[in-house]
């Protein structure tokens, strides 16, 4: 029985949220009425010419820079020729040799293990319009009519091409997640898969473990969720292994992911002979990225998710909490502000990713809509440190703060949740409980510490939960040891 190894490379398309399209002044806006965000350039009227959008170029460079790519000094635009009704020029302006960014890397953690995926290139493209095929098939073949909306035509598109370094569906997903985080952190795209502003093509092949030659690959195009990405790759690996083990062979082809059935289907096998007749676009001059421009891009690099996670961990948040915080941008801001003011990072992290997230989900609100502020988190942490509040009571207080009932101290006082930290008051309660349970006291004195918990519980009950349990425990031990 052969052991198989999967070899996976991902091509990721990301739509940039620039003010205008890649080669004209039309707005990048998807909410508009069809064919309103268009002009002679993006409709490919006769005589219209493309002019590159500097903001889009900067966006691409920032992605390349964040992926540790080399930014190409002299970059070229090419025409990729193919006929399709939603491609106005019937060629797409893209890049071929000399893309904007080459030779990068992306580190991703899979099951706690750090791995590295090489980035072949990051290059510029323009998006097509949208076709809506009317008719039973829902595809261009067999359509009775096709409706075209060119609002999306010419929207700047970045293609990030990975090396075939990915070995598992889980790693592919982790790569997708991390790339999405980076793009969002850079602020160049919202990278929403469900809206198509980020999408994947996966190249998948398998080979016997220990061999180095690549197997014949298939390409699954336009995968539009991270879950589907993982599923489609898992399915495709299984399908290929099954064929090979049965003595068959894999055809190089494009396949489509059927989300409902959880399988991939063969697309048109014409792809193999598809010839895009790439040639340098004579309407566009070579783009020169000089050292100054490169430095400007590097200087603008924000703290990336990986670095931020590391920093949060350094502050005391555990790995999972750090990850959750970094992914939820607004909570991370609260976390940072509260910790900067001296709040305990561990507690604040746990509250934010636990109670707060639960509250936000159940109420379906943003954190900004609640009464929670960084200073209320600081107050809450201080009250615990100073023994004014128990950890259990703190959660109740937090819920009330979120609901807008006031600051933590205010809420704790109003709901009578402040801990009794007056030793003599607690001592009185402890004595009373010990008096009521002499048998428990005896057991403790004879070396059995089990009843301590029971006694603490009794004191907590008699104080309405307001006693500091640690202090109660200390007092019981002291009295028993007497």
């Amino acid at each position: 029985m052969t052991d198989w190894e999967a070899v996976i490379g991902l091509e990721t398309h990301v739509e940039l949220q620039t003010n205008s399209k890649m080669f004209c002044g039309c707005p990048v806006d998807f909410g508009d009425e069809p064919n309103t965000a268009v002009c002679p350039v993006c409709l490919a009227m006769p005589g219209a010419l493309p002019v590159p959008n500097e903001q889009a170029i900067e966006g691409i460079l920032s992605i390349g820079e964040a992926l540790d790519c080399t930014l190409t000094e002299r970059s070229l635009f090419y025409r990729k020729n193919y006929f399709y009704p939603d491609l106005p020029k019937n060629y797409q302006i893209s890049q071929y040799t000399f893309p904007l960014c080459v030779d990068g890397r992306l580190d991703v953690v899979v099951d706690g293990e750090p791995t590295t995926v090489g980035i072949t290139r990051v290059h510029m493209e323009e998006d097509t319009g949208k076709s809506t095929h009317l008719g039973e098939s829902g595809r261009i073949h067999g359509a009775e009519n096709t409706l075209l909306d060119f609002n999306r035509a010419g929207v700047p598109l970045v293609e990030v091409v990975s090396e075939p370094d990915i070995r598992s569906p889980e790693q592919a997903r982790a790569y997708g997640v991390e790339l999405q985080r980076i793009v969002r952190a850079l602020g160049v795209s919202d990278a929403r898969l469900e809206e198509g502003s980020m999408r994947f093509d996966a190249n998948i092949s398998v080979r016997p473990v220990g061999t180095h030659e690549l197997g014949t690959r298939t390409e699954v195009k336009n995968v539009n969720s991270l879950r589907s990405l993982q599923r489609t790759i898992a399915h495709e690996i299984e399908r290929q292994i099954e064929i090979l083990e049965a003595g068959g062979s894999i055809h190089q082809e494009t396949r489509h992911w059927d989300e409902a059935k959880g399988v991939t289907r063969s697309g048109r096998t014409k792809e193999e002979s598809e010839d895009y007749r790439y040639f340098q676009d004579p309407d566009l001059l070579p783009l020169y990225i000089d050292a100054q421009w490169r430095e400007r891009v590097a200087a603008r690099r924000p703290e990336l998710p990986a670095a931020k996670r590391k920093r949060y961990a350094g502050l005391g948040a555990d790995r999972r909490t750090a990850e959750l915080l970094v992914d939820a941008g607004d909570l991370a801001v609260l976390f940072e502000d509260a910790v900067a003011e001296g709040a305990d990072a561990r507690n604040v992290g746990i509250w934010l990713t636990g109670e707060v997230v639960r509250y936000l989900r159940s109420e379906d609100v943003d954190v900004a809509d609640t009464g929670l502020t960084a200073s209320s988190l600081v107050d809450l942490a201080t009250m615990i440190d100073e023994g004014d509040l128990s950890a259990t009571a703190a959660k109740d207080v937090l819920a009330s703060v979120l609901a807008g009932e006031g600051g933590p101290r205010e809420v704790a006082e109003a709901r009578d949740l402040l801990q009794i930290s007056d030793v003599s008051a607690i001592e009185t309660e402890v004595s009373a409980v010990l008096h009521e349970h002499p048998e428990a006291l005896e057991k403790i004195r004879s070396g059995d510490s089990k009843p301590i918990g029971f006694l603490v519980g009794q004191v907590m009950r008699s104080t309405g939960g307001k006693a500091d349990p640690r202090m109660v425990q200390d007092l019981i031990r002291r009295k028993a040891g007497g």
């Binding site: 409709l43 006769p46 005589g47 219209a48 006929f83 106005p88 019937n90 359509a143 007749r277 040639f279």
Partner: protein
């Protein structure tokens, strides 16, 4: 009394500002001329009578208030591959029949801003592909010197209207000689500027790396005036030149004393008609007599220019013309599927020469052939640029005949595309190099057909090019007018 249609632009401007006649008078004169000549020439595809009249009225108002713009009120024509808002623009193709553009190109807008009066749109070889204007889907244009002959092409319509007086000036586009060759065949002056000097925004692309808009006029100074109205950087054309514009008309009267003139050896021998050759040599001798220093030199790579051109231009056009698919504008021929609709539209919409070049270009770019064809052609282009650069280290301008022959008979070359392609043998190299060139009429052959003389200059060398061209014009004393024009040009 001279018919106003026979005035040069300089004369017309002087008359307008002296109050001798109005812009409306000028427009009436060229429209009257068109009414007489169009039946025979078919040089215009569209006359924009209303637009022209309102522009002429506006010009008259402006002239009254002392507005000094040099083209104010001057009736000009524009090749029909230049996009004009609201005025049908076909590029001579069935595939764009009836298309009224929603925008105007930059050169057209600059002409509007200059106060020029656009009379109409002129005929051309379909998508500017041809050297005789016989490839127009709307029928050929005839040469006003002899209506059995072609006016050259592809800007044959623009050349013919200027020659005959149905406009005082015109604009064409030049991809391999499409302004200079028809100027040569119609006894007019035609200039192709440095690549990037005039915005291509709104010029329906044939071959983007070669196309340039340029003027056709009756005199060198008029051509300079026309060109000056449209040059300069345009943010809408990424290939437009973003530096100082050459002083095109500054040295028109400076003469040629001390100017070094290079005669291109490869263009004054085999393949050039003996009468054209003799006229060219006579013009060179006159330049020598006027004080120019004459050097004969060689541009070896020019031998391969035509072959390189017929790979590069078709390759670019195969992509440029892909947008004509019946989806968004122009002709649509229905089919049972989208693919079939697109294929039928293109099959019916494009004429044979355009189809031939699209196929040629598609082939040249195909996997497995790219390097041998398109790649090799680009290497030739690099060599040619180097040849020109070396030549311009020794001389200020290069000269040659513009066309190897004078106007040829309609139909005489249409069956053999290769013979037709040779019509551009003298002009193509400057397009590949990105340099400027101008054609100036110097004499008539025995048949009474005009012979043109070409002056070429290094990139952005328009000042010296126009300077030498103006002297060639003065020395040639070419005053002949085509039979169809009703009167003779008034000497400047």
């Amino acid at each position: 009394m001279t018919d106003l249609a026979d005035l040069t632009i300089a004369q017309a401007t002087a008359g307008l500002h002296a109050g001798e006649f109005t812009a409306i008078d000028l427009l009436d004169a060229v429209e009257r001329r068109a009414a007489v000549t169009e039946a025979e020439l078919h040089a215009y595809l569209t006359l924009d009578r209303e637009g022209a009249r309102s522009a002429a009225h506006a010009a008259d108002e402006a002239i009254k208030s002392g507005d000094p713009r040099p083209l104010l009120g001057i009736p000009i024509a524009v090749k029909d591959n230049m996009v004009t808002r609201g005025v049908e623009t076909t590029a001579g193709s069935q595939i764009l029949a009836g298309w009224k553009p929603p925008y105007s190109g930059t050169a057209v807008l600059r002409l509007e801003e200059s106060g020029a009066v656009m009379v109409g749109k002129t005929n051309l070889d379909e998508f500017a592909m041809g050297s005789s204007t016989e490839n127009s889907a709307y029928g050929p244009t005839r040469n006003p010197w002899n209506t059995d002959t072609v006016p050259g092409g592809s800007s044959g319509g623009s050349a013919a209207v200027v020659a005959v007086g149905s406009a005082l000036g015109a604009f064409g586009s030049d991809t391999g000689g499409s302004i200079r060759q028809p100027a040569s065949l119609t006894g007019t002056v035609g200039a192709k500027p440095t690549y990037g000097l005039v915005s291509r925004y709104g010029l329906i692309a044939f071959a983007s790396s070669l196309d340039q808009i340029g003027p056709i006029a009756r005199t060198v100074p008029d051509a300079a005036t026309l060109l000056e109205a449209v040059v300069g950087w345009d943010p809408l054309d990424a290939t437009s030149y973003h530096g100082d514009v050459p002083a095109i008309s500054r040295s028109l009267n400076a003469g040629v004393a001390g100017i070094r003139v290079g005669v291109v050896a490869e263009l004054i021998g085999e393949g050039i008609d003996p009468e054209v050759l003799a006229a060219t040599k006579a013009a060179v001798d006159r330049l020598a007599d006027a004080g120019a220093e004459i050097v004969e030199l060689s541009l070896p790579a020019i031998e391969y220019a035509l072959s390189a051109y017929y790979l590069i231009a078709p390759a670019e056009c195969s992509a440029n013309l892909a947008r004509f698919d019946g989806v968004r504008y122009g002709l649509r021929v229905d089919g049972s599927t989208t693919e079939e609709m697109m294929a039928r539209t293109r099959a019916e919409g494009f004429g044979p020469e355009v189809t031939r070049r699209i196929l040629l270009g598609t082939y040249a770019l195909s996997a497995g052939y790219y390097d041998a064809f398109y790649g090799q052609a680009q290497r030739v282009r690099t060599l040619l640029r180097r040849d020109f650069a070396e030549a311009y280290e020794q001389v200020d301008v290069l000269v040659s005949p513009t066309s190897p022959t004078t106007a040829f008979e309609i139909g005489s070359k249409t069956t053999d595309p290769l013979t037709m392609y040779l019509a551009d043998i003298c002009t193509i190299a400057t397009n590949l190099a990105g340099d400027p060139g101008i054609s100036v009429p110097i004499s008539l052959d025995k048949e009474g057909l005009p012979i043109g003389f070409q002056v070429m200059a290094p990139a952005l060398g328009e000042e010296v090019m126009f300077r030498v061209a103006a002297e060639v014009e003065r020395l040639a004393e070419f005053t002949a007018r085509p039979k169809l024009a009703t009167s003779k040009v008034v000497a400047p």
